[in-house]
């Protein structure tokens, strides 16, 4: 691992003027986050034994300390952490699910998913590493300047006379086109052509509102019992999150992975589906 400094949790500057990276203190591990990842990827530490919530808490504290020290909001570091933490979380979730004997296709798929997540973590680290190598190569190569001189006058004079057929109007047209702000190219595949049944989060929220305002708490299972498709289940789940954010509902879950009970908490009439954020309005 790159950073093997002493496990101080303070992001102070060391002698070289570099700030030590993020470090974690767990029951079974204290040291740089990078080292933790290294151990996990070498199978020397079981991901299931790492308290990710503690790691996350410490990271948030670390970022806050950086801010308090007047450092810029460490965006790169934060987004990098999010990528790794999300992968670790996926990995851990996959590990925690009962593995047992491989009996059916679902089990195999699960194992594959686990390896895939693991591979993703490793790939991310590999690219990070080669990016560092490319950076130093680029820097080294920048020390060589190419000979790049204008053509000597007598050679430039040999060039064939330019064919110029543009009128000022045509030329202005070229300029118009070149100066027009470019529309951002699509980064994702358009899904508009896939005609699914439109499911509106707003409509589902209204429906859930009516059911829950009757007064009896309902389980999530019960709320989706009549959902005709996965899309409706997803829409209702999103609707519940929206309602929760608006403090219209409260959740109760007695056991991990147990039934989720939803209770209406808003005063009658204090909530309407109009409160729903705009982002869902356009989307099916």
């Amino acid at each position: 691992m790159a950073e093997t400094g002493p496990p101080t949790a303070q992001p102070e500057l060391d002698q070289a003027g570099k700030k030590p990276g993020f470090e974690v203190r767990l029951a079974n591990f204290t040291g740089p986050f990078d080292l933790l990842l290294g151990l996990i990827s070498k199978h020397q530490l079981d991901i299931t034994e790492v308290a990710l919530s503690t790691v996350t808490d410490e990271f948030i504290k670390y970022i806050k300390r950086l801010q308090n020290l007047g450092e810029e909001w460490a965006l790169d570091e934060a987004s990098e952490f999010l990528v790794i933490a999300a992968t670790l979380l996926d990995l851990k979730a996959a590990r925690l699910l009962p593995a047992g004997e491989v009996e059916d296709e679902e089990d195999i798929a699960l194992l594959e998913a686990r390896d895939l997540l693991f591979a993703r973590l490793l790939q991310y680290k590999a690219f990070k590493h080669v990016a560092g190598m490319m950076g130093s190569t680029l820097e080294l190569e920048a020390r060589r300047y190419p000979r790049q001189v204008a053509l000597e006058g007598h050679f430039a004079a040999l060039l064939p006379e330019l064919l110029w057929r543009h009128t000022p109007q045509q030329f202005a047209g070229l300029a118009e086109a070149a100066l027009k702000p470019k529309e951002a190219a699509p980064t994702e595949v358009g899904l508009a052509h896939l005609h699914g049944t439109a499911v509106s989060v707003k409509e589902q929220a209204e429906l859930l509102g009516i059911r829950l305002q009757r007064g009896t708490p309902l389980t999530f299972r019960a709320l989706i019992a009549d959902a005709e498709s996965t899309l409706v289940v997803v829409a209702r789940f999103l609707a519940l999150l929206e309602l929760f954010r608006d403090k219209a509902v409260a959740f109760e879950q007695l056991l991990p992975l147990g039934d989720l009970t939803v209770r209406w908490t808003a005063d009658g009439g204090a909530w309407s589906s109009e409160n729903l954020s705009e982002e869902y309005e356009e989307q099916p």
């Binding site: 990827s41 895939l116 790939q123 080669v130 490319m134 950076g135 190569e141 300047y145 190419p146």
Partner: protein, 224 residues
């Protein structure tokens, strides 16, 4: 060339060997005016020499600029060390390099600090870590869409891709027939900046993937 024979027929154009310094100096003269790497074939056709001869001359010049006596590695006779052509025993201030598919003269890296003061606008600013990582993913996965790079890096790469394009390090290489997404690849300017001849010369990725050889293919096949 104003005449357009595809294979340089030696003898029909100017006879370089009759000039002072011969073919070697003629090649040097051409190297003085090119502003991008030129292949041995391009040079041979302009000089009316065979590609083999040009390649030999290029290698000779390269050694010479580096301060080695010419022909010494190629000829057995030890007496050639007595600078028959009169070649430098110390490196020159410049070097001849074969990168990005062609030959070009560069100032020697040792003199970067001095040369840099004379070259206006010469070198561009350093890349950020985010830009480097995105460039690395594109270099190793090209041609590749932004969505795929995003998936690997876990963050949106749109603005970084735009910057890398502006700086000439990557370019549009058409669209993916299936998704219609724009695919990106590295440019020859990228190769030049990296000092390599082709992307095949990039270090292999697998040693950086501890313990899981062949994971790249697996990952690609399954996830994308």
């Amino acid at each position: 060339m104003n005449d357009t024979q595809p294979e340089p027929a030696v003898g029909t154009g100017p006879d370089v060997s009759s000039l002072p310094g011969g073919a070697r100096a003629a090649l040097e003269a051409v190297l003085m005016v090119i502003d991008q790497p030129a292949t041995a074939t391009e040079l041979a056709s302009g000089l009316n020499l065979t590609v083999d001869v040009v390649e030999e001359l290029l290698a000779e010049l390269q050694r010479e600029y580096n301060g080695y006596t010419v022909n010494a590695p190629a000829v057995d006779d030890a007496s050639t060390a007595i600078n028959s052509g009169g070649f430098s025993a110390t490196p020159r201030g410049f070097e001849l390099r074969n990168i990005a598919g062609g030959w070009r003269i560069y100032s020697r890296a040792e003199f970067a600090d001095i040369v840099g003061a004379f070259v206006l606008e010469g070198q561009t600013a350093r890349l950020t870590q985010a830009a480097l990582e995105t460039l690395a993913v594109i270099a190793y996965r090209q041609p590749v869409s932004r969505a795929r790079v995003s998936a690997i890096r876990g963050v949106n790469v749109d603005s970084v891709v735009r910057t890398l394009t502006q700086r000439g390090l990557i370019e549009d290489s058409g669209t993916d027939p299936e998704s219609g997404a724009i695919l990106y690849r590295t440019t020859s300017y990228f190769l030049e900046r990296m000092g390599i001849g082709s992307v095949a010369e990039l270090p292999h990725l697998s040693p950086h993937l501890p313990g899981l050889e062949g994971i790249e293919e697996f990952y690609d096949a399954a996830r994308m």
